[in-house]
Subunit: 461 residues, 2 copies
């Protein structure tokens, strides 16, 4: 097949869309470590997890064996509303860079939630609905996950209670209004609607909240009403599973045109996008069928993979959720006020952490000013204003393309463009005004987070 | 062809994309009236227009004869960046409404400018560049047109000077930052950078500006520097021509699947979207080949077609631009502070005005609360948060679908979904809070606008 025939945008046909999710854990020799009960340090049982997640999601969370999980028809119908997502050949960027590299990106931002989060939101809401539940609760910081969940719940006519970190609630009123337009009940956190919220407000009357506090409120509300479950937009095995639709579609599109990527790049916060994008390619590598170079890109201000520890840790700052074995900076790590939004998480998907630990993946940390520089360059030639998170992947994709320019290699580079930056213009404004600063935590600062890791000496890791 | 085979989203192939724009004026028996010099009331000559627009655009503006105008390769390359736009079968909306009607919409919002404006922005910037000009100037209110022009200029590496109405500049900082990210020079209007701006600021020190004032500043800047031309995002014949790409793509997609629309609906402000969407269908009707029902939808607060006069009028409140014969509420008409953004224009494309006058098109005025109700309903089932402008078309499409439900008719309805509402969340917020009000001007209020129409008794209309 000649290169000429590859269009700017590859849309697979609707009948070609994946009918199954791919479960990378089935092909991993070293499985991700189980979630532990934070009180007993014993593996969480299905019953215990069932108090937090609905039953089908518990099964998916614990399933390390089944390679493929069928996507229910109702979820596939919802996917048809905004998928297939285009696989874009970045001809304009290639020309601008004058690189012999061939650059592709899977664009997940062409839906109202503005990111890939919708892929798992609809799945989690669907299984809750199937179980006869009335609704779901969650927290949101930047707001992409909350918006995605609100959209999914509107479609399924379910209740959606979102605890939004108060400073975001006030600073991002548009995100809040999108959620409300989709019928979600959005509460600024901390609030007087929960015991934990009241307690925090009594202790810190002027606080503008934190993600940890919002999680605690969302979990409390779901735990007190058997008609609700708590849902989460990243980190979990089930989320990686649902997000595999990104990679599956990408692979189908590439196979149609005989394209094989040499390098696959994704930004990494909790790992939902990266895990989804690389899933089927990683599967081929784990089965020894193909070789790929995978690169996880994280902010230098929150360097989970590049400078974190591989250890059991709390998933939330409130320490109410199960313990996960993952790369972590410690649940007490406080990232600087960077603009990488969804990437400011102290931990990382246990499955991705294991793969990274076992040497299947590289990681790179990049600073935000160079990320926004790449984002602006990309926006001008490719016509899409990328989310700051996605722009981490753009930065490294450009770096790799420039290496090809030096060496003359015609490598094929694939990266994930997870979303759009329409709600991140405050950050772009700071960059445009030259007021954006970089921040790299010192070893001493990281040590504070590590000091808060739970004592796991009672278990045999 | 069975209905089953029609996908949710029809994307034509890149090689099927239009290579020509369609000029509806070529098929009109009664041509739109020429633009007149506001001082002499004589038709503007090509030379006079050449002081405002670059030469190729003057030719397009005055060309009532050539049915097809080739789209230059460079513009088609740019179109490939964000086109083809999907033609969506609104299966989910149909199911929600339980209507036998088949509803389709052409979605033009999947690009960073958030609307169809990019189709003409790249064309106008391209011809200016071809003529060796350094840049273009324009005004923007809501910001969609300014954003589109900034994107086009960034791609072509041209200067872009945008005068943004000061109140929008302050209330819509995100729009401003998107333009700046694309390298545009954005100035709040009125400003001290122009004579007219200085004069207005001296007279009204605290003013937050108006579109009329911003136009005057943009025109002044371009008139003082031969390296610049002024460009406009709607109303003009050239804009209708460029926007015909919307309808051409739609028709190609429909023809592929043997779909024939019975009713074609578009929102109408200056007419750029409506004119573009209906162009090739209107051509068939004008040539007597097919019958369609065309419906222009406008806000009841700014009822240009339904309650305006068909007369020569000023295109701008500053009265510096040529006179156009069109449906108008008078250049002095001040629409209420509604949220229909781009639809708050006192006039209408001369070509569409003539077609409406000659009975080829219907018009309907709708109130904003019912528009936002339709928008919210649409967003929940179709997953796209529509722009307020576009939602006028949604409202009437739903009305027509509900009529089909009553009569049992299986009509095919096509409407234009011009853009997304991410930058309109203040309006959605007001609607969500029940604080949105409707406003219909009284006859006396409209009379004030009509009183300001120019005295044309010297010419034989």
């Amino acid at each position: 097949m000649t290169e000429k025939k590859i269009p700017y945008k590859i849309y697979i046909e609707e009948h070609e869309m994946p009918k199954e999710w791919y479960n990378v854990r089935a092909d991993m020799k070293n499985k991700p470590a189980p979630l532990l009960n934070p009180a007993t340090h014993k593996p969480m049982t299905a019953e215990e997890l069932g108090e937090v997640f609905c039953d089908e999601l518990v099964k998916q969370e614990m399933d390390n064996d089944n390679r493929y999980i069928p996507i229910p028809k109702k979820i596939r119908d919802f996917y048809l509303m905004y998928r297939p997502a285009p696989l874009v050949r970045a001809y304009c960027l290639e020309e601008k860079l004058q690189t012999p590299a061939k650059i592709y990106y899977k664009f997940e931002g062409n839906n109202t939630s503005g990111s890939h989060k919708l892929n798992s939101a609809i799945a989690q809401a669907f299984y809750a609905k199937e179980q006869g539940l009335k609704g779901v609760t969650t927290e949101t910081g930047a707001g992409q996950w909350g918006t995605a969940l609100a959209m999914a719940c509107a479609y399924l006519e379910m209740d959606c209670k979102v605890y939004m970190v108060k400073c975001s609630y006030e600073q991002k009123p548009f995100r809040r209004e999108v959620m409300r337009t989709y019928g979600a009940d959005v509460t600024p956190s901390p609030s007087m609607t929960t015991e934990v919220g009241k307690q925090i407000l009594a202790e810190h009357p002027g606080t503008t909240g934190s993600l940890g506090c919002a999680i605690s409120e969302a979990v409390e509300v779901s735990s007190k009403d058997p008609g609700y479950r708590y849902v989460l937009g990243s980190v979990l095995n089930q989320v990686m599973l649902h997000q595999s639709v990104i990679g599956m579609e990408t692979k189908i599109a590439m196979d149609k045109y005989g394209i094989k990527p040499d390098i696959i790049i994704g930004c990494a916060g909790g790992g939902s996008n990266l895990g989804g994008l690389i899933a089927p390619f990683m599967g081929e590598m784990l089965r020894g069928e193909e070789e790929y170079k995978f690169i996880a890109v994280e902010p230098a201000s929150c360097p989970t993979l590049t400078r974190g520890k591989f250890a059991y840790d709390y998933c939330d700052t409130g320490k109410v959720c199960p313990l996960a074995k993952m790369y972590t900076l410690g649940s007490g790590f406080i990232p600087s006020a960077s603009h990488s939004g969804g990437l400011r998480y102290h931990g990382m998907s246990p499955a991705l952490s294991q793969l990274y630990h076992d040497g299947y993946m590289e990681a790179r940390a990049v600073e935000q000013t160079e990320v926004f520089k790449a984002a602006t360059e990309f926006a001008k030639v490719e016509g899409i204003l990328p989310a700051p998170e996605s722009s981490h992947a753009i930065k490294v994709a450009i770096d790799e393309a420039m290496k090809c320019k030096e060496t003359g290699e015609e490598k094929t580079i694939l990266f994930g463009l997870t979303g759009t930056g329409y709600f991140d213009m405050v950050a772009y404004g700071k960059f445009n005004d030259g007021e954006m600063q970089d921040y790299i935590p010192t070893d001493d600062e990281l040590q504070i987070g590590f000091n808060g890791l739970p004592d796991m000496s009672d278990i045999d890791e």
